[in-house]
Amino acid sequence: MNVREWALPVFTVLIQMSVGALLALWILRAFASIKYGKEVMDRIVRVPLLIILSTTILGMIGGHFHLSRPYLSFLAASNFRTSWLSREIVFTVLFFLITATLWFFQWYREGHWGLKTVLGWLAIMVGFVTVYCMGHIYLLPAQVAWNTPETIISYYGSMLMLGVMALAEILIMDLRFKKVRQNEVLTEWVIIVREAIKRLALAAGVMLIPDIILNLFHLYLLRTGTALAQTSYDLLIELYSPLLIARFLILPIGVVSLIISVATMKRTGKTVQELFTPAYLACLLVIVGEALGRFLFYAAHIRTGI
């Protein structure tokens, strides 16, 4: 893989992480606002929203490296009716615009709780569509290793896993920043983040199981598929076996390490801010795992026909 090829996993992983993180953030916002009020939640979501928007921008910039002529990227949207790639680009841009609007309201307009809620869920829905389009691009009859519904499902799985882990890291990082500055550490804020981290870790643990099963199932499909599928399978278990093993190990290690850190928080006497390093390493491992998975996804494809 060269730079143009690496641009694809950069784009897909970052956009999926953005959508997943926004989904997790908006679920947290919805539930926490009932117990702790809208005002405090309005403050908590500010920085995460900025980071989600930045990640989206980073993903879109990264995606341009895949193009031969990045300055003509807007032309990619011209085949919206027939091309999933065009749809992916259009919905990605739409996701970006709605998220940017939401960020603007969140940072520069107080109140408007209902509007922000609608914008958030709208962005999430568009994001879901984006990820669907993203996955559907690869459902090509010529690409045996990709041409299964499992591709789309695994994309959604990655989206949720990346989103959950990223949000956990973002929340802790933001809280740590506020603690360092010592300007506005609120007890409620700490409680909300602590409770959120527990639930996010639990959610990551729950999602880990289908993720592993899905990957094993994918290998099974390749192994039991056509000759071309078996060729892909052979590539994975021979040439790329170290990476495949790493992929299978790194993701669970990241998730489980976060779960252990959160579970032992009370016993070790650590504050939620002190979970920064384990949460960071867990998030890093998950991104590496997902990026490795995406590398294997592209590397293992065997084209048939033209």
Binding site: M1, N2, V3, W6, P9, V10, V13, L14, I51, T55, L58, E169, I170, M173, R176, F177, V180, R181, L239, Y240, P242, L243, A246, Y280, C283, L284, I287, V288, A291, L292, F295, A299
Partner: protein, 700 residues
């Protein structure tokens, strides 16, 4: 690479010295760390030591690999190198991170890991994928150890040392700061030459500038690129360094190793410098403490001397029977100055035991007796009055508790010391001092205040005793008058009674001549009685009527005495103003004068008497001198009847620390000299109201 023996030997030497430099670095850091220090840098030295040792070993492995040998031997060395090299990078990364955090980082740096998480993740992923290329595994290990571990580790260590340089520079430790600067720059050079220059390989950043000399394709079917990405060209790999500089990269790494080792080892001198600084600081502190203790002793001694001086002065004033009010004013004024305090007040219990009245106080510009009735109601003072113990504020009291401590002023006290006054184990009042600034009274202050309270009680006691003494003087005077009347007027009246009976008998007997003779005797007796009575009246009036001053009273007395006795009197007053005698002394002086003049009238048969008063200054103070001289018949000093009267007069003089001397010559008259000590008090004329109250208090 040219494998000629001289070049191999040169390479071996380079690796050897590189290893030696790092081993030296590790040893120095280890020894310094074992020596221990309070410096935070000390706890990171273990990582630097470990890095130095492992890096040295890695270089020496390279040395042995250069020398060649059996394949098995080479394989073992390669394996060791593949373990040692990433371990070196990891140790440097940890050390770099630790030293970077040595000085707290700005808050915004919290986000740096977050921003870098995606790039780091992708670099790691990319690095992982290079291990499945056909290239030998030691190549990606070498490259990624440098890119992912050594490069960030050396950069962080460099920045960490530069931050220490900045800190030391601000502290003014230029010598140590320069070494930190050198170490920082050396690590940055190390980051470049060791972390960024890698072997030629088909991947990494190098893949873009190494495509023209790739040894292995990265992936099956992939073609080598000719054009570098973003115009990067192949200049950062080992071969390019050799081409550009004419020297192998190992030489530059050796140079870098020596530079790092030199500056870091010299930089470790910061520990020695710190130790010396701490030692000097301790010595300075010791000297300061000694001086402070010495100064404190001097201050304490001076303070004690001042207090002692004031206490002695108070005692002297009490002994000299000075006015009680003036003594109390002197006490509160000096207590305020010596403590020092912003306010000192004295309150006494009056007739009503629950009524505590402010009697006198001292503030910055005024020390005075309170004329009007000012009842003290401050709870803290009243509580202390009922308590056995004195009170001293600790600084933790609520502000409301210290309100109304400074009378007559709106400001509230910040510190207070309160002492109860006791007389015969009963509370009679309170003496308290307060400060308007945040400075609590010490235990020593409280002890001094208690001493002053004792002096207040003593002064009041002496006042009471003086009052009683005056009462005794009055009684004694009355006794004298009664005795005089008994000896004089009563005798005369008895005599006259007998004479009247004699006259009646003579009249019945018709003895006219004898009758006339007896009438003449009766007239003399009546004249004598009249003189006695007048003298006693004069004595009484003079003793009690001193409102215009004693000298004036003496002058009036002498004038009246002259009229009554037809003895010429002459009074000389050499004193301008008040005599400054205590009230008791005044009484005794007048009594002595009366006794002396009575003797003149009764016994001296003098035609003239001269009285003079004047002031004598001696070392021990001022004295009033009175001289009485008559031109009478004089007497013999052994005359028992006269001696009794003289003895009484001497006792009167002695009772007020005075002296009395009498000289008499038969036929030439008598002279009497007496001296009385003056009271030296500039406040003698102040009010006597408190004395009166104290008298009432004693009755209560």
């Amino acid at each position: 690479m040219d494998d000629s023996p001289p070049k191999v030997f040169a390479m071996m030497l380079i690796y050897f010295f590189s290893g030696l430099a790092f081993e030296g670095l590790g040893l120095a850091a280890y020894l310094q760390q074992r020596q221990g220090s309070d410096l935070p840098l000390n706890k990171h030295l273990k990582w630097l030591a470990a890095f130095g040792f492992v890096c040295g070993v890695t270089n020496w492995i390279d040395m042995f690999l250069t020398s060649g040998g059996a394949q098995e031997y080479i394989n073992v060395l390669n394996l060791l190198r593949m373990i040692a090299q990433p371990l070196t990078g990891l140790l440097l990364l940890i050390f770099g991170w630790e030293i970077l955090r040595e000085i707290p980082l700005p808050a915004w740096t919290v986000f740096i890991p977050g921003v870098l998480i995606v790039p780091i993740a992708y670099v790691i992923t990319y690095a992982a994928t290079t291990f499945v290329t056909p290239s030998p595994i030691n190549i990606p290990i070498d490259i990624w150890s440098r890119y992912l571990l050594y490069l960030p580790g050396a950069i962080m260590a460099g920045i960490g040392f530069l931050r220490l340089w900045n800190m030391q520079r601000k502290l003014g430790l230029s010598d140590v700061a320069n070494l930190m600067l050198g170490a920082g720059l050396a690590f940055l050079f190390e980051a470049f030459i060791v972390g960024l220059v890698v072997p030629a390989a088909p991947y990494g950043p190098a893949s873009y500038y190494n495509y023209d000399r790739v040894i292995y394709n990265a992936f099956t079917g992939e073609q080598a690129g000719i054009t570098g990405f973003l115009g990067l060209t192949s200049w950062l790999d080992n071969a390019r360094i050799l081409v550009v500089t004419g020297l192998p990269v190992s030489f530059w790494r050796m140079l870098s190793a020596f530079t790092v080792t030199f500056f870091v080892m010299r930089g470790l001198g910061v520990f020695e410098a710190t130790r010396k600084r701490q030692l000097k600081a301790l010595q300075d502190e010791h000297a300061r403490a000694q001086k402070a203790a010495f100064d404190a002793q001097i201050v304490a001694r001076e303070t004690a001397e001042k207090w002692t001086e004031v206490l002695v002065s108070i005692n002297r004033r009490i002994t000299e029977l000075e006015d009680v009010d003036s003594i109390l004013l002197y006490i509160v004024d000096n207590a305020r100055k010596l403590l020092p305090a912003d306010f000192v007040g004295l309150a006494l219990l009056m007739e009503d035991p629950s009524s505590l009245e402010l009697k006198c106080f001292s503030i910055e510009d005024s020390t005075e007796i309170v004329r009007s009735t000012e009842i003290v109601k401050t709870p803290l003072i009243l509580e202390t009055l009922q308590s056995v113990h004195s009170y001293r504020s600790t600084g933790n009291e609520p502000p409301a508790m210290l309100e109304d401590i400074i009378y007559g002023q709106a400001r509230s006290a910040k510190g207070v010391g309160i002492v109860r006054l006791e007389l015969d184990n009963r509370p009679i009042g309170v003496l308290w001092a307060s400060r308007a600034v945040e400075m609590s009274f010490t235990e020593t202050d409280l002890i001094w205040l208690e001493c002053m309270a004792d002096q207040v009680v003593i002064a009041i006691q002496h006042g009471l005793m003086t009052s009683q003494l005056q009462s005794l003087s009055i009684i004694e005077e009355r006794t004298r008058i009664a005795r005089d009347m008994h000896d004089g007027l009563a005798q005369v009246l008895g005599y006259l009674n007998l004479e009247v009976q004699t006259l009646e008998a003579l009249q019945k007997q018709g003895k006219t001549e004898a009758l006339t003779s007896e009438l003449g005797k009766m007239r003399e007796a009546i004249n004598l009685a009249n003189a006695d009575v007048r003298e006693n009246i004069l004595s009484l009036r003079t003793t009690l009527a001193s409102e215009n001053g004693l000298a004036s009273a003496i002058a009036e007395y002498l004038e009246e005495f002259g009229i009554q006795t037809a003895i010429e009197t002459n009074f000389t007053n050499e004193i301008d103003g008040d005599l400054n005698l205590s009230s008791v002394a005044e009484v005794q002086l007048v009594c002595i004068l009366q006794e002396a003049l009575a003797n003149v009238r009764k016994h001296a048969r003098a035609s003239q008497v001269r009285v003079s008063i004047g002031r004598i200054l001696r070392e021990e103070g001022g004295f009033i001198h009175m001289e009485i001289i008559d031109n009478g018949s004089g007497f013999l000093m052994r005359d028992s009847k006269r001696n009794f009267g003289l003895k009484t007069m001497k006792e009167r003089a002695n009772s007020v620390q005075g002296t009395l001397e009498v000289q008499s010559v038969l036929g030439k008259g008598t002279s009497l000299n007496c001296t009385f000590p003056c009271i030296k008090n500039e406040q003698l004329k102040k009010s006597s109201a408190l004395f009166t109250r104290a008298t009432r208090l004693s009755v209560h």
